[in-house]
Each structure stands twice: as structure tokens, then as C-alpha cells.
């Protein structure tokens, strides 16, 4: 079957598992002919999914999935490949911003998409203020130039660039460690596809999960080659760094996934996260958030056998 899967950014290690499944023939083995469509800074592929132009979309977090429910958009998260959202805040070391509690007083370089989601939670949970926010346009220079500032990022890339260019090792705060328990890098599909062709969805989920396990634990050279083909500007050292960080933080494989398999999602965590977001004022408590996901395709232990035995 021909399917198109859209990511949320230019090809990078954070999409590694999908490229892995494509590169090593896992998708093919599951009878899928997959095209990966790269995202970009101003693209909104979720609308393409809603309009039926693509079959699967990479969801950055669950907030947008809840949004879809709120707007009656029939999009459902069917698997979550990241157990922890790699979203971080980073600060300059030794500038009085070494503890998470210090961060709200700093100037914050935050992108618009994070501002309308994560940051809203940070406001209620930790007292961050919108007045401190400066726009972050995927360019860390203003952060590096200002010692009293913090900046958003992904654990897997921004600290590396800041370190390399800024010649200092920034403090990194993974929000997942501070209570931000959104799933991340979800696979989203249209509800009608789930209903009409659950088998296709299942095969795509399973193959992607296997791809991710192989990317993290196996030989990912081919996947990286494919990533570099799609995005020639990315460097090997960055890819290596990203993979290392994903392992270090247990982004892909930690908690539930160690028993349920990569891609795992649970009702309990969804409920917890939704409660937090409701608290932050993002959603009405009455929202039927359960429509945003389905556990039908995950928690089946797929790929557990690919984990290295400790």
C-alpha cells in the first residue's frame, strides 16, 4: 500500500526510526510503500492530514491532538514513539539561572507554537510570565548573546549547537522531568482510516516501532544516510549527539515502553496530562479528550525483543 507520512520538521535524528524502517525495508516487509514528507518551520501538515492529502502525520505533542478534538477534527493519535517530550529549556551556566526555579525571571526565547502550548502550562505550574518572552525563530544567536536569557529547544539538538557555537555548556532542563508528561512524536491518523482499514494502521505502527528500536539500538547508518539525503545540511556529529541524548534521557524507551513496547500510551498518563493542560486554561474540562487517541494499536510488546538485554 502506498502511504504518505508527514513529519514536522526537516529530516533529523528525531525522525530516525521512520527513516530506519524505510531504509532497512521494514515498511516494505509490512507491505507498505512509504513516502516521508518533510515538514518545515511554517508548514502545518496536520491540515493536510485532515484534508486527506496524506495518511499519517507526526504529532509533536498531545496538545494539538486535544485541539483537534476541540475543533471536531477527526484526527487520532495511534502511537507515541517518544515516552518523554524532548522539549527543554536551557540557560547560561553561572548566571544565576542554574536551578529550574530561577528560570521564570529570565528573558525567554520561545517559539510561537511553544508559547501557545507548553508555555501556558509553565505559567500556571511554575509562574513563568509572558512579558519575558522574546520570539525564537530557530536561531540561537540572541540566546547566546544574552547571558540572562533562557531558550526553548529539543534535548537532542539545541544544546549541542549552543555548546559548539557559544563555547559554553548550557544548563539543560528537560520539562518531562518537571511534570510535563505529554506524549511526543505520535503517529496521527484520520478516524475514518482507522475504522475502515485498521490493518493498514496497525502495520504502519508496528513497522515504525520496529524501525525506532532498530534506530536506537541497532545499526542506524542507512537511516542516517537517508536523513542526510533529505536534509544535506545536517551533520554526522549532530546525528550522533541526538541519538546519544535520546538514549541518555530515555526519550524513546523508558517507563511504560520497557514493558509495553516502544510506542506505548496509557489512559492514566493521558488523563494526567489533560488535567494539567486544563489547569493551564488550554482546554475546557468537559472536553472528551479520550477521542484524541486510541490504544487499539499499541501496548502489544512489539519490538521488545529488539531491546538489548541488560
Amino acid at each position: 500500500d502506498k502511504v504518505t507520512f508527514a513529519t514536522n520538521w526537516l529530516a533529523e535524528a528525531e525522525h530516525g526510526g521512520f527513516y530506519q524502517a524505510l531504509a532497512d525495508g521494514t515498511y516494505a516487509k509490512y507491505g507498505l510503500d512509504v513516502t516521508i514528507l518533510q515538514g518545515g518551520p511554517q508548514t502545518n501538515n496536520k491540515l493536510l492530514l485532515a484534508a486527506g492529502k496524506i495518511d499519517f502525520n507526526l504529532g509533536a505533542n498531545m496538545i494539538q491532538a486535544f485541539d483537534a478534538v476541540a475543533q471536531n477534527i477527526p484526527i487520532v493519535a495511534v502511537a507515541s514513539l517518544f515516552q518523554k517530550d524532548p522539549f527543554i529549556l536551557m540557560s547560561h551556566p553561572g548566571a544565576g539561572l542554574d536551578r529550574f526555579e530561577d528560570l521564570p525571571k529570565a528573558t525567554a526565547f520561545i517559539g510561537k507554537d511553544a508559547l501557545v502550548s507548553v508555555y501556558q502550562w509553565l505559567k500556571t505550574a511554575y509562574g513563568f510570565k509572558e512579558e519575558k518572552v522574546r520570539p525564537y525563530a530557530f536561531n540561537a544567536a540572541p540566546f547566546i548573546a544574552d547571558k540572562n536569557s533562557i531558550q526553548q529547544g529539543y534535548a537532542t539538538s539545541e544544546p549541542y549547537e549552543a555548546e559548539r557555537q557559544g563555547k559554553f555548556k548550557p544548563n539543560v532542563f528537560l520539562l518531562a522531568d518537571y511534570g510535563y508528561d505529554s506524549y511526543s512524536t505520535t503517529i496521527e491518523a484520520r478516524r475514518d482510516l482507522i475504522e475502515k482499514n485498521p490493518d493498514l494502521v496497525q502495520r504502519f505502527v508496528d513497522a515504525s516501532v520496529i524501525g525506532w528500536c532498530n534506530y536506537i539500538y541497532g545499526d542506524n547508518a542507512k537511516a542516517n544516510a537517508l536523513i542526510k539525503r533529505d536534509n544535506p545540511d545536517i551533520r554526522d556529529d549532530l546525528l550522533a549527539y541526538s541519538v546519544a541524548k535520546m538514549k541518555e534521557y530515555g526519550i524513546v524507551d523508558s517507563g511504560d515502553s520497557t514493558t509495553l513496547g516502544v510506542g506505548a500510551m496509557t489512559d492514566a498518563r493521558m488523563q494526567s496530562f489533560f488535567a494539567k493542560m486544563t489547569n493551564a486554561g488550554l482546554f475546557a474540562p468537559s472536553l472528551d479528550y479520550k477521542r484524541a487517541y486510541t490504544l487499539q494499536f499499541v501496548n502489544k510488546g512489539v519490538g521488545l525483543d529488539l531491546r538489548p538485554r541488560q
Partner: protein, 262 residues
């Protein structure tokens, strides 16, 4: 006779406008498009009303940036055009710089600006950069298009450069300048949007751009369209105001502003 004429002038555009809206509404209904792909005009209007508390303050913010940028563009673009017309070597030296400023993408230089400027000034600078070039270019063209015989006349009276500029070249360039202004007005609005996205503050004091983007992220497409509608109406209003100004300033002497009858 007056009302007849009014109907004649504004009837067709009114009809076309109504037809466009109706066609849109019908299309949405027939194709049964969900609101997140294309909301119907009725829904957009409804959203405009229900979300007015969010949208109108945002409009105000954007409007402020727009007008500030337009004013800066008039001063900057017009002033530069005047300098260019007075000293050819300045034109040859700095026109390339002006072109570079025009074609440099805001998103690329916004971070640099953010390092050195307050966000509010950075936004103004970005919006200015988008809007100033048409005014510069058209004014320069107008200044260069001054009737040669009148230039001779001023030379005859040994008018100084500046008086020639003030009394001859500027009035002669007025139609061109106003044309540039009409283009620049819309661009200032886009500039405000782009600048806000690249360098602007968010949250409380955010402008329409942020609202549009936010609505897009939150997949609230009807609200996005409501904001876009406000933006469009603002654009039309700016153009209309500048057209009236144009007609007022040129009415008695320039062909472009005169009616066919004499």
C-alpha cells in the same frame, strides 16, 4: 440623479462581493467541507463576533505597527529618494544597499535585530524594511520624471537645488509618490504581520499575526479566517484612505485623478 449614480458606481462591486461570498458559502455547503478545511463566510462572521474580545485588541496592535511602519517608510523611502535625486553618487552608492534591505528576508535578520534592539523597535524596523522600497522607488521615479521644460525654468531663475526640489520636483513627483504609498500601505500591513511573527512580543499585547498563527496551531480555522478577514478589511481601508487622499491632492491637475468630463 445623485442616488442613481451612487447605485451605478457601487452596485456592481457590491453585487460581485455578495456573489463571491454566496459562491463561497454554497461551495462549502455543497462540498460539505468541514470548517477546519474551509469555514463558511457565515461561520467566519459568527466567529468574528464571538471572538471580538480577542481579535479587536490584536487588530489595534497590528494597526499601530502598520501606521508606524508606514510613517517611517514615507520618511525613510521619501527622504532617501530625495537624497538620491539630489546627488547621483549617493544614488549609485546606496541604491544597492536599499535593494539589499528590500530582498533580505525578515526572518533571517530578525534574530540579529533582536540582539541589538528592543522587540518593539525591532518589529518596527522589520515592518519598515518591508514597506519602504516601493515608496523609495516610485518617488525616485517621480522625481526623475519632472518636466524638462519646468526644470529649465527653475534653472533660469537660478533656483537653488532645494527650492527646485520643494517647489518643482516634489509636486511633480506627487502622483508617483502617492502610487508608491498605495503599494507601501499594503506592504506595511504585511510587514507588520511578518515582523510580529519574526520579532514581536506575544501573549497579551499580541497582534493579529500572532492570533492567526495561534489559531492555526490550535487548529481553530474559523478564528484564523476571522482574523484574516479583519486583516483584509484593514488593507482595503488603508488603500481607500490613501486613494481618497490621492484624489484630494491631485484632483485639480493630474490626469490620473480627473474624471473623464472636463
Amino acid at each position: 440623479m445623485r442616488p442613481m449614480r451612487w447605485v451605478q458606481e457601487y452596485g456592481p462591486p457590491g453585487l460581485v462581493f455578495a456573489a463571491l461570498l454566496a459562491g463561497w458559502e454554497v461551495f462549502v455547503r455543497l462540498a460539505d467541507l468541514p470548517p477546519y478545511i474551509l469555514p463558511s463566510p457565515a461561520l467566519v462572521l459568527e466567529t468574528l463576533v464571538t471572538d471580538r474580545a480577542t481579535l479587536f485588541p490584536a487588530l489595534l496592535t497590528t494597526l499601530k505597527i502598520t501606521l508606524g511602519a508606514l510613517a517611517a517608510a514615507v520618511l525613510g523611502g521619501g527622504g532617501l529618494a530625495i537624497l538620491f535625486s539630489q546627488w547621483k553618487w549617493i544614488e549609485r552608492s546606496f541604491l544597492p544597499v536599499a535593494i539589499v534591505l528590500q530582498v533580505t528576508p525578515i526572518v533571517a535578520i530578525a534574530p540579529l535585530l533582536l540582539i541589538y534592539l528592543e522587540p518593539s523597535s525591532a518589529v518596527l524596523v522589520c515592518a519598515f524594511l518591508v514597506a519602504f522600497f516601493p515608496i523609495l522607488s516610485n518617488t525616485a521615479l517621480g522625481l526623475a520624471s519632472t518636466d524638462r521644460n519646468l526644470v529649465d525654468l527653475f534653472q533660469l531663475y537660478r533656483a537653488s537645488r532645494w527650492r527646485t526640489l520643494l517647489l518643482l520636483r516634489l509636486p511633480a513627483a506627487l502622483p508617483y509618490f502617492l502610487g508608491g504609498l498605495r503599494i507601501g500601505g499594503g506592504l506595511a500591513l504585511i510587514g507588520a504581520i511578518v515582523a510580529e511573527l519574526a520579532a514581536g512580543a506575544a501573549g497579551q499585547g499580541a497582534g493579529l499575526a500572532f492570533r492567526i498563527l495561534e489559531a492555526g496551531y490550535r487548529l481553530n480555522i474559523p478564528r484564523m479566517f476571522a482574523a484574516l478577514t479583519l486583516l483584509s478589511l484593514t488593507g482595503i481601508a488603508i488603500f481607500a484612505v490613501l486613494s481618497v487622499l490621492s484624489a484630494y491632492l491631485l484632483g485639480r491637475w493630474h490626469e490620473s485623478a480627473m474624471s473623464a468630463e472636463r
